[in-house]
């Protein structure tokens, strides 16, 4: 017990000194568990997040837009892959993570439980959802766990690119025909509040935050990140000639920030608990693809084993 305390103290001193923790370093079990939870949740968000956008690939209105969207969703699959690998360095297998996702034990970002009925959503998601994600992820490039921090550096570069592409889609709509502009506004109305919810509960309601801040897994509080996002995004909305769907939004000179209305936390918790419009659909889609692919994975494994055996036989004969 005494040794344990001192290991933990050493760990904290090491983290306080802005050193990165690497896979083979000693770490408190709870630190490891927190990271597995967070990184796998992040990976699942990338993977489930492919669905609302893949929904529009076959209907993208220009070949250029189709190519950009396809490349973007492919990037997300790639992010999922790095993040699963980062979580594997902590001793969790990909099979386990996928099974936790499918059973509902592991969560993913609730924002992907909203539907994408409009092409404008392809712009709004890039602009607001990726924008909110970047706000969080830039902080994570300095997170204390080395493999996670390094994965975030690469992911952030691509996410910034996606955000610009998303903004470009919305800009074309906002500057297009009246129908296109209405499409952009309707989409903004649906995504604005769920985007603010992406930063998670208010600081006084956030159960895991304090310990994560102490371990430097998290470096800024939910409310700080949310405020930064609002301050950055409101001028972009104004530039487009669109309206933020919040009657209480106004610049507060004294604070040097925008004040904004109250988030509907009932909706937030409802969607997390599985009552969003697409929770069931997203998991069912993932399960279906996984089950339909079972015979393919089995075939690939069987073939790899045969090949290994053949190689061994050839080696023995030689």
């Amino acid at each position: 017990m005494g040794t344990n305390v001192s290991l933990e103290e050493n760990f904290q001193t090491y983290v306080d000194g802005e050193n990165k923790i690497e896979p083979k370093d000693w770490m408190p079990e709870k630190y490891r568990k927190t990271l597995i939870r967070q990184i796998s949740q992040h990976a699942h968000s990338e993977i489930i997040g492919m669905q609302p956008e893949a929904n529009w690939i076959t209907r993208a209105p220009s070949l250029r837009a189709k190519l950009i969207l396809l490349a973007k969703v492919q990037d997300e699959a790639g992010h999922g892959l790095y993040l699963y690998s980062a979580a594997e360095t902590l001793g969790e297998s990909r099979e386990k993570m996928i099974s936790d996702l499918q059973s509902g034990k592991a969560k993913y970002s609730s924002i992907f439980n909203y539907p994408t009925p409009s092409w404008a959503d392809m712009g709004t998601i890039g602009w607001l959802v990726d924008g909110a994600a970047i706000q969080n992820q830039v902080m994570l490039t300095r997170t204390s766990y080395g493999p996670y921090a390094r994965a975030m550096v690469k992911i952030c570069k691509e996410e910034s690119f996606h955000q610009r592409q998303g903004y470009e889609v919305v800009m074309k709509l906002a500057q297009g025909t009246p129908e296109q502009k209405a499409m952009a506004q309707e989409s903004l109305n649906r995504w604005w509040w769920p985007s603010l919810m992406m930063f998670g509960p208010s600081d006084d309601e956030s159960p895991n935050s304090a310990q994560s801040m102490k371990w430097k897994i998290k470096r800024k509080s939910n409310d700080t990140l949310r405020q930064e996002f609002v301050d950055k995004t409101v001028p972009q909305v104004e530039y487009l000639g669109l309206t933020v769907p919040d009657a209480d939004l106004k610049w507060n000179e004294a604070r040097g920030h925008y004040d904004f209305g109250v988030i509907n936390w009932d909706e937030f918790y409802d969607v997390i608990q599985g009552n969003g419009p697409c929770n069931k659909e997203r998991i069912a889609h993932h399960v279906e693809a996984h089950e339909e692919g079972a015979w393919v994975r089995e075939a690939a494994n069987a073939f790899a084993q045969k090949q290994a055996q053949r190689k061994k036989n050839t080696g023995a004969a030689a």
Binding site: T58, L67, A77, E298
Partner: protein
């Protein structure tokens, strides 16, 4: 071409018409295949292969754009890559019927890709020497991507053929079912004669294609269907299966709903 369901189709082409027709064959093949493959996004059997198949879709759509951009110049009258992709109806499309066949399961999609990738490899390899310099340039760029695609799909045919009993049976069925759409790839079309030897005549690729396919199927322990079986035809003349109508309805819905919009 008279006396059957392909009656009334054009059989005489000027040099200019033949060139446009040739570009349309290539561009429509690339677009329809790319569009079909993109449906796999988020549905692959394993994440790495989801990424791989999206990659091939990206290549096909990227190549389609280059080809349509050149075709738009030949067409004039304000044509663009997007008017060509989004504002033509089924009878104006010239893709091979093979490409509009449904994705089916992983084995069906892999076999469809294997048949066309192998064809494309010989075709684009030949087009590097095309007398049309823009097309030769597109071929030079594309042939590297196509070589990768052809390797990827051939490897999957082998893996499924020589995998489990179930996968062997499934992929053999895919081959048998899709076989009747392959003959069309090598049909003699009047435009090849009009364009002359500076372009690849698709019918000259059949021997190489059959040899390569036979080799891969043998490695995969699969049976090759008889190359003289009855083959379907029509795509190069604009006579399609009902699948194309749905593909276009979905793909073209936004530009057709908002005819004055730009995206």
């Amino acid at each position: 071409m008279t006396g059957g369901w392909l009656a009334g189709k054009k059989s005489q082409f000027t040099q200019e018409e033949a060139l446009k027709e040739y570009f349309t064959f290539l561009a429509d093949d690339a677009l329809i295949l790319g569009q079909q493959l993109s449906r796999w996004c988020s549905k692959g059997p394993v994440l790495e292969q989801d990424i791989a198949i999206i990659n091939t879709s990206l290549d096909h759509i990227g190549r389609a754009r280059l080809l349509y951009q050149e075709l738009a110049k030949l067409e004039g009258n304000g044509a663009t890559e997007d008017t060509l992709a989004y504002l033509r109806d089924h009878q104006e499309f010239r893709n091979a019927l093979l490409l509009e066949q449904p994705n089916g399961h992983w084995g069906d999609s892999v076999v469809r890709s294997f048949f066309i990738d192998t064809f494309n490899f010989f075709l684009y390899d030949g087009l590097r020497q095309c007398e049309h310099l823009v097309l030769a340039g597109i071929a030079e760029k594309s042939v590297k991507e196509i070589a990768y695609q052809a390797q990827w799909s051939a490897e999957w045919v082998i893996r499924l053929g020589d995998g489990t009993e179930e996968s062997h049976q499934k992929v053999q069925n895919s081959i048998d079912d899709l076989w009747m759409w392959t003959g069309e790839l090598f049909e003699k079309h009047p435009v090849f004669e009009t364009l002359g030897s500076g372009f690849v005549d698709f019918s000259t690729l059949k021997t190489q294609w059959l040899e390569k396919v036979a080799l891969v199927l043998e490695t995969a322990t699969l049976q090759m269907p008889d190359s003289e079986l009855w083959m379907q035809t029509g795509g190069r003349l604009g006579v399609h299966t009902a699948h194309l109508g749905f593909i276009l309805a979905e793909m073209q819905s936004l530009p057709r709903t908002h005819p004055n919009a730009s995206w």
